[in-house]
């Protein structure tokens, strides 16, 4: 007698969010990217439809990233003083499906560039690549709140993913997104309660924004609390599938940023000869971190090392094969 596979039936699915807009839709992107829409836990194609692949993004800074590990210089050194050229290289040479611009230059301690300068950088990158863009501020809310609106206006129609909104500071970025129809990153500090509450607060400002939220649950690298963020994401996704609409949003994670903070990724080969060659070790650290998050239901992975991106891309190819 054939064994019947026990299949879970879920009541709800993750919402779909479209990023970018083509010229027909009022933007200038060559195509759009849809994320979310999962009807089952990650890659369990036999339990429900997984309509969209997780998206691989490379991060681009608008200043030379001197704090990055020196091993990145050979990949990005020729372009990293020009965000537009850097973005183009990521897309054309390394196969990035989206670009995340981190507007580091806005940081009052790192150049304090004006909101208009930030908007101009975004426009320049929009002109250089055809993929949809993710734009995040410098990480200092008092300054970031000043740049969201000019950027949102300058890129009106482009259907950006803009961030980040936090529980204590979500109104400026939400209203910038509302007014110019962009999508928003809602970031919570590895805390599912705050994650849900922040989604509710954004939805209360505008019900239309509820369908434009990408959740950033804040992820940790392998060895630095990956199991905490993994279990938060797993719980959020289970909640979403069981009917919790305020958790049924696609998720994003800064995999590259976190992995390349780890000592294990950065220690020079000569300091830790037993650990193997540094760059390979670092990209494996990033790859392993990304692999774990793919299994937690992540929809957008912001990567840093081009080789790590390549490995994860081929893993996603395998995971997206129908197993029903």
């Amino acid at each position: 007698m054939a064994v019947e596979i026990l299949k879970e039936k879920y009541r709800n699915k993750v919402g779909e969010v479209v990023l970018g807009a083509t010229s027909d839709q009022g933007g200038t992107r060559s195509h759009t990217i849809t994320v979310g829409g999962e009807e089952a836990l990650p890659f369990l194609h036999f339990e429900g439809e997984i309509p969209n692949r997780p998206v691989l993004v490379l991060e681009v800074w608008d200043i030379v990233p001197t704090e990055w590990n020196p091993c990145f210089e050979k990949h990005y050194g020729d372009v990293w003083s020009d965000p537009a050229a850097w973005a183009r290289k990521c897309v054309e040479e390394f196969g990035a499906e989206m670009i995340q611009i981190r507007l580091k230059s806005a940081d009052p301690d790192l150049g304090d560039s004006s909101p208009e300068d930030c908007a101009a950088i975004v426009k320049k990158v929009l002109g250089a690549v055809g993929v949809p863009l993710i734009i995040v501020g410098c990480g200092k809310p008092e300054k970031d709140n000043l740049i969201y609106n000019p950027i949102a206006e300058a890129a009106a129609g482009e259907n950006l993913l803009l961030g980040v909104a936090e529980l204590e500071n979500y109104k400026a970025v939400t209203s910038a997104c509302m007014a110019n129809q962009h999508n928003i990153i809602a970031q919570s500090p590895i805390d599912i309660n705050i994650c849900k509450q922040l989604n509710i607060l954004i939805a209360e400002m505008s019900t239309a924004m509820a369908n434009r939220i990408i959740v950033d649950p804040t992820i940790a690298a392998l060895g630095y609390g990956i199991e905490y963020s993994y279990s938060i994401m797993e719980r959020a996704r289970n909640g979403a599938l069981q009917g919790d609409k305020m958790l049924a949003m696609p998720m994003i994670g800064n995999v590259g940023l976190e992995a390349w903070r780890a000592k294990e990724a950065n220690s020079p080969t000569e300091d830790e000869p037993g650990w193997g060659e540094q760059e390979e070790r670092g990209l494996l650290w990033e790859t392993t971190t990304a692999m774990a998050y793919l299994q937690s239901g992540i929809d957008i992975l912001v990567m840093r090392h081009p080789e790590a991106l390549k490995v994860i891309k081929s893993s996603i190819d395998d995971l997206m094969k129908d197993n029903s």
Binding site: N193, Q197, I200, G243, D244
Partner: protein, 264 residues
């Protein structure tokens, strides 16, 4: 907990009048209000005094469905009226109710199978409401077995252990709690459980307090559904809180609003 809104019932004067005048205003207002406040199902009962229950049921079903997409719970002792209503329901409905009496079970379960309806099944028979948990569970098992013979899965049944007012039958309280727990052991999948909440407080002076205390205690004992006043905000808040304590919903600061609004 699945909330079955109790308010569209001919026992209430405004609904009785609406049926008499064929004026849907009051019925539709209550349908909207209950849905707005978090009901999952709307109970439809023509009331005891209706001279033409079949016609009244059809009318109530129609006017309710004009303003609400919620599934209906057709509540009558007259099965011809329920069947007339079932024919008009746009979504699979619930039949409320059948006791563990063979002739009635045969009539109701055949009808439930035909229309794909869920059934509220009462843990009582010709001899009335049992005094203890064991007799209630025996009747529940009889209901599950009979339903199964008609091809109705146990989880299509909502067993009502029947609670009596706490001011006259105080000793029933713990028996009902035990019944709720043990009903879950009858079959796999287990039948669901339901309670007509307002019964427990009939004739008392603290009706709302007793209702919501009973609701959360019953939930802790596994209750799945309640026929309740969905417009009792304190009750709905207590149910939302019990769901948090029982880890049925993920906490956030706005959890009460989330629970009430999740249907909208």
């Amino acid at each position: 907990m699945i909330i079955i809104g109790e308010r569209i019932n001919g026992m209430f004067k405004d609904i009785a009048q609406a049926i008499k005048d064929q004026n849907p205003a009051a019925v539709q207002e209550w349908a909207r209000k209950q849905e707005h406040n978090g009901a999952h199902y709307l109970d439809i009962n023509v009331g005891p005094s209706s001279a033409t229950p079949i016609e009244a049921m059809k009318w109530l079903v129609e006017v309710t469905q004009e303003v609400s997409d919620l599934p209906l719970c057709l509540d009558s002792t007259k099965y011809d009226a329920i069947e007339a209503g079932l024919k008009l329901c746009k979504r699979p409905a619930m039949i409320n109710s059948v006791p563990a009496e063979m002739a009635k079970m045969e009539r109701v379960f055949a009808m439930a199978a035909e229309y794909g309806a869920e059934v509220v099944a009462l843990a009582m028979n010709e001899e009335g409401i049992p005094k203890d948990a064991d007799s209630r569970i025996a009747l529940a098992a009889e209901l599950v077995a009979t339903a199964d013979a008609f091809g109705i899965a146990p989880d299509m049944l909502y067993i009502d252990p029947l609670v009596l007012p706490c001011n006259v039958a105080q000793d029933h309280g713990p028996e009902v709690m035990r019944t709720l727990r043990e009903i879950k052991l009858i079959s796999d999948p287990a039948p669901k459980t339901v309670i007509g909440l307002s019964n427990v407080s009939q004739g008392t002076k603290n009706r709302e307090l007793i209702n919501r205390t009973f609701a959360v205690m019953a939930m802790a004992n596994g209750l799945d559904a309640g026929i309740v006043d969905a417009n009792d905000d304190e009750l709905m808040a207590a149910i939302a809180s019990a769901r948090i304590i029982l880890n049925m919903d993920i906490y956030c600061d706005s959890y009460v609003n989330v629970f009430i609004q999740r249907n909208r």
